[in-house]
Amino acid sequence: MSLFSNITLGQYYPGASLLHRMDPRAKILALPLVMIMVLLADGTAGFIMSGIPVLLALLLAGIPPGTYWRGLKPLWAILLIGLAIQSLTYPGEKLWQWGMLSVSREGFILGMKLSYRLSLLILSTMLLTMTTTPMNLTAALEKLLQPLKKFGVPAHELAMMMTIALRFVPTLLEEAEAVMKAQQARGGSVSTGNLNQRLRASVALLVPLLAGSIRRADELAMAMEARGYRGDTGRTRLKQFKYRPVDIIVLTVLIALTIVVAADRWA
């Protein structure tokens, strides 16, 4: 069995929660609403209101908290650096001083706000990708972009490109592994030697990989054409999406909340 055979694409976490069962289109539409809300929020009331939908969704998704934690892990550094820069550079009432460094009260609060907003944004995006398969995501995106076709947005082509890219990631990884092994067998290695040697070795890996994918693309195009593919002229879809009451309710509530948060900010 291959090294990459158990790879799972994206972060999809299988489940049957309310969030999993929602129409992917509704989930995609909900994301910008949540984002606007989080970015508009100002003051305690606003922050609480914009946090509630995300927290509620986190609880409803039925995904163990550890999984979110692992998802956030690579981003902790960014959150902390953001907080540090804000509190160290923003002028204001000094909370704490050590030599040339001083933490201002205003800066610290600003930094905390920034971290709060960033983690809500990251968590809401994670929720979308964890509760929706990549396949449903692309199909829903295609459906949502459909009206923009009049303005020249290639909705179907974009979705088809994403589908094919997702489909071929494991295949290309397998091929990369094969090339790597073939080169190791002849004494080449990508993982040893100094930087220069490693760079050279990775060129020897990338060139056959690139040549291989061009050949694949050619054969795939031929196979698609043989099966009557001609863009989205006269094309129907197996997957049909249907908005259910829950989708409408969620979107309505989110729109209402966004308006309230916006009103709170400018009131």
Binding site: S5, G234, R235
Partner: protein
């Protein structure tokens, strides 16, 4: 089997082909060939003899440089009927990895039907039927990279059969598979043949060729032989001269004869041997 008075599904009339930009080097030279409904036609030939090119001419992936190809009466060179042609003649390719488009088996089976504008309910129905018939129902939610080579090729065959083409053209479908995958695909081909599907199989595997109703041997772009398998495999010296092997069972009979033993001329298949040996004892 008499096939001459049956309906012609694919009709090649004086077909020649040369790839553009190759100084008019002829790949196929004046081929006249009819594929009849319900027959299994095998295209044999050494590498570079034009087998794959001939297969690609049969559903309009390539248009002939000379002559014409008619599929159920439709000219493949006519752009307006090209999609009709591709609905009538399905095609399976050599590399199982490079012909699956979708993220799951279910979507793959739907792909051809989606292209041709089938309503979703009809697609569901056909996917259920075909996956049950070809024992793919448990794989419906699998992504292609979790399938074995043989399974991938069976999915490719199933997804072409889903649009119910009149004929199926397979371009060396087993040449990139391991022995187990090869057996899987061959038994699928035999089932297809028994169900009366029109099949054109491009191969250089002689054990696959022996099951054909008719064999066409291509040599340097010319149809050098056209006839039943037995007649084809009786021309041992000629086959070897053009670089084709003869089926193992026939080779065995030839060598035994070479040792001075008397065995009949027409043992081409393991089944022939079984019949012959059982009858002797």
């Amino acid at each position: 089997m008499r096939v001459s008075n049956r309906k012609k599904v694919i009709c090649l009339q004086g077909v020649s082909y040369s790839y553009p930009g190759t100084n008019n080097r002829i790949v196929l030279d004046n081929i006249n060939l009819d594929v009849h409904a319900g027959e299994m036609l095998v295209l044999l030939g050494p590498n570079g003899s034009g087998k794959s090119t001939l297969a690609r001419l049969m559903n309009g992936l390539l248009a002939p440089s000379c002559g014409q190809v008619l599929v159920d009466g439709l000219n493949t060179a006519d752009d307006t009927s090209l999609w009709q042609v591709r609905k009538k003649v399905g095609m399976v390719f050599q590399n199982p990895d490079n012909q699956l488009v979708a993220a799951t088996v279910e979507e793959e089976l739907a792909f051809g039907m989606e292209n041709l504008g089938f309503p979703p309910e009809e697609m569901m129905k056909r996917i259920r039927e075909i996956s049950a018939r070809m024992q793919l129902d448990e794989l419906l939610n699998f992504p292609p990279h979790r399938l074995s080579g043989g399974q991938k090729q069976r999915v490719a065959i199933a997804s072409v059969l889903a649009i119910e083409p009149q004929a199926l053209v397979l371009d060396e479908p087993t040449s990139m598979l391991d022995p187990a995958g090869r057996r899987e695909v061959i038994s699928e081909l035999n089932r297809l043949k028994q169900s009366g599907k029109t099949v054109v199989l491009v191969t250089h595997d002689m054990t696959e060729a022996i099951t054909a109703d008719r064999i066409v041997v291509l040599v340097q772009g010319k149809a050098a032989f056209m006839g039943p398998p037995r007649e084809c495999f009786s021309r041992v010296a000629w086959l070897q001269e053009i670089g084709l092997e003869i089926p193992p069972a026939a080779e065995l009979a030839r060598r035994i004869r070479g040792k001075g033993l008397v065995v009949p001329q027409d043992l081409y298949h393991v089944a022939d041997w079984v019949e012959y040996l059982c009858q002797e004892s």
